[in-house]
Amino acid sequence: MNAPARELTAKLEPSPQEVALYEIRKRIHPRAVHGWFARWRWTLVFVTQAIFYGLPWLSWNGRQAVLFDLAARKFYIFGAVFWPQDVIYLTVLLIVSALALFLFTAIAGRVWCGYACPQTVYTEIFLWIERKIEGERLARMRLDAAPWSLEKFVHRALKHISWFTVALWTGYTFVGYFTPIHDLGIRGMTWQLGPWETFWVLFYGFATYGNAGFMREQVCKYMCPYARFQSVMFDKDTLVITYDRERGEPRGARARSVDPRKKGIGDCVDCGICVQVCPTGIDIRNGLQYECIGCAACIDGCNQVMDKMHYPRGLIRYATENALAHKLEAHSIGRRMLRPRTLIYGALLLVIIGVAAASLAVRNPLKVDIIRDRGALARESAPGLIENVYRLQLMNTDETPRRFTITVAGLPGIVVAGVEQPIAVGPASTRLIALRLQAPLEGSTQEDDHELGSDDRHEQSRGDGSYEKRGGERGHEALEPGPHKIEFTIRAVDDQEVVRHEKSSFIIPR
């Protein structure tokens, strides 16, 4: 080992000691924090939860406004009814979410994690309950350490009952998105829930209780994949929560009256507030760490201290790596937000949202699947009249009942037969109908002179000998054997706008 390596080893190993491969978790009791960013987080807690808890109670057209009916495979979102065939919109939603995550992370780091992620939001709510019942950080730590007593039991029981109530309501609300929530509530109160409803209510309730009450930062540190892969979207112009080391160090306690410059120390008073408020228990002064969820609690905490010390705010602040290195002003940090990475994310986002919105706006409420009968390619129903059989699946995705007419084009004289038109299809329902297309096989020159045992398929087209008479008078060309392209047109009787053209093929037998 050469000299620099020894040096490094010495630096990396201050005092080697025996440790286990698994770490016993130390419970974190974050200190309450007030300030600009905490207010923003609470605002987002209220907004997201008002939407989550409130949405299933809204009505629309006499039904639940937002309902994902998995059993019926219909997904109601206000006026729109999505069918499994519309899964592309779910794909678009996921792509938009992913691109938005990329964009916001490139600009301002883990803002999603810090303000809007359910894990953060529910931890915030559960922490608030904990604080109301068990007291502030120090009181909670004392209670943890205290032996069991009636008081401790009452505090703990109250906390868990409150948590449990919130968690159960969350589970109930979640299931209420998939099964009508009024009905679910009534049946829940009379103990008439089905086994799966019970399971999912309890499952989501338990997940909320466990994740927000117990797991908390462990979810972000060890379980969440987003937490880890967001760091690859960071660059030197990404806003991250940063401790201004140059301004803060060397840190040290001092009286308010002491001028730090004279004492030769930085602005950091080493009060440890930034560590106490951190929900993941890290020290932001060690620099950017993977545990940091970007909640900015340390900024709020530090700013309070700076105010008390009459120092300027922002010892811990949102800043970029470049801003610290080159001492950039706020406006040039802002200008650097517009860089190729964010512009490309932004442009893609706008294009995809635009295309999806346009496609939603012109969405056709009629969907049609055409299935040719494969058992029989074709048959001759009357001399010279070829028939193909089709099944049409008409899907009226709207909530208005409609009647449809079916026409067909593509071959001379081709008509739809064997179905009574117009065809009524109920609101948001499907109808499978079987129908025949008939096309005249105009003329044929083939003579009926086959010997015994000649090619069997050959006969199918000509079945009846009456052709021979027609053969002489053919005015049109005979249709070529084989598949011919045809097009069905399905049109709503009462709304000419609702129309769909579907391609298929019509087979003329050999």
Binding site: M1, K11, S15, E23, H450, E459, R462
Partner: protein, 317 residues
């Protein structure tokens, strides 16, 4: 049931599974107790501690230990896998104490579904086929059954195809009353027309074909028809009858009504007479659905099929 002739492979697989699970547990136990030399994580700006392992001059290994509860989760997976092997089949050939099998699960799902739909079928079973045929719900159910079980051969519109009769017309090989239709669905039909090529010779076959075509007024060579008539009287009347009107008891088609199961061209008729139909060379048989469909479904299907030609759509309500 087993693909193996001896128990060896079953024991081998079971042993392998148990040893693997056990090995995971032992490994976990050792790792859980293992202690390594490492610099602990300090609160200073040094970043995470390292395991003290340095190689290639300056590569060091960070020590970011997993939380202990994660280790307990591993233990839980071991307990779960052992529990699973006790309750469910998985350990070699052992069936598990719950006796679960995919065939059993399927059977129980079918049973559940039958219990659910049972009353509906019972309601229609109590009704006459002709009555059922005019019931809109029964018609819809019958249509779905038809599309599932019958449409492959008879077509989605029941219009048939070569060798498979059209069920919409009023021409029936075995008779079109509800009971006969039910009988056809339940037990199947296997109409056989023997081949006469060897007996009649090529000329004889052509002559009979000429006569058969003339029966339904199709253009035919008058001389051949005349020559074929006595041959028909000798060989064909046993099944098709003296007047060629067929015999529903045998499924022998009526040759005078212009409905042709295989086609009416001279060549097709020559082939039918010469080689026969439904013989080993061209087996076209209506399979019995007794084992596939229960009585209730056959009842509804019979009503649907009977209704195709006997009930006007307007009468279904």
């Amino acid at each position: 049931m087993s693909d193996f002739t001896s128990d060896f492979w079953s024991l081998y697989v079971a042993g392998l599974a148990l040893v693997s699970i056990l090995a995971c547990g032992v490994l976990l136990f050792i790792m859980g107790r293992m202690r390594v030399q490492a610099s602990p994580r300090k609160s200073s700006a040094d970043g995470p501690g390292t395991t003290g392992h340095v190689w290639d001059e300056d590569l060091a290994e960070y020590n970011n230990p997993l939380p202990r509860w994660w280790m307990w989760m591993f233990y839980i997976t071991i307990a779960f896998s052992l529990g699973y092997l006790v309750f469910y089949p998985g350990l070699g050939n052992l069936p598990g104490i719950l006796g679960w099998s995919s065939a059993g699960a399927y059977a129980s799902e079918v049973r559940e579904s039958d219990e659910r739909t049972g009353p509906l079928y019972a309601k229609y079973m109590a009704m006459d086929v002709k009555q059922v045929a005019t019931d809109a719900q029964a018609h819809a159910m019958g249509e779905r059954l038809f599309l599932t079980h019958c449409a492959q051969c008879h077509g989605s519109d029941a219009g048939g195809r070569k060798g498979f009769p059209n069920l919409r017309d009023s021409d029936w090989l075995y008779g079109g009353d509800p009971d006969t239709i039910k009988q056809s669905i339940t037990n199947g039909r296997n109409g056989i027309m023997p081949g006469w090529g060897a007996v009649l010779g090529p000329e004889g076959v052509r002559n009979v074909a000429g006569y058969v075509r003339s029966l339904s007024g199709l253009p035919a060579d008058g001389l051949r028809a005349q020559l074929g008539k006595p041959l028909f009287a000798q060989y064909c009347v046993a099944c098709h009858g003296v007047d060629g009107k067929g015999n529903p008891a045998l499924g022998a088609p009526n040759l005078t009504d212009g409905v042709w199961l295989y086609g009416s061209s001279e060549a097709t008729i020559i082939e039918t007479i010469g080689k026969g139909r439904g013989t080993a060379s061209s087996v076209t048989r209506m399979p019995g659905h007794k084992g596939l469909l229960d009585e209730g479904k056959i009842h509804l299907l019979a009503a649907y099929v009977w209704g195709l030609s006997s009930v006007k759509p307007a009468d279904i309500r």
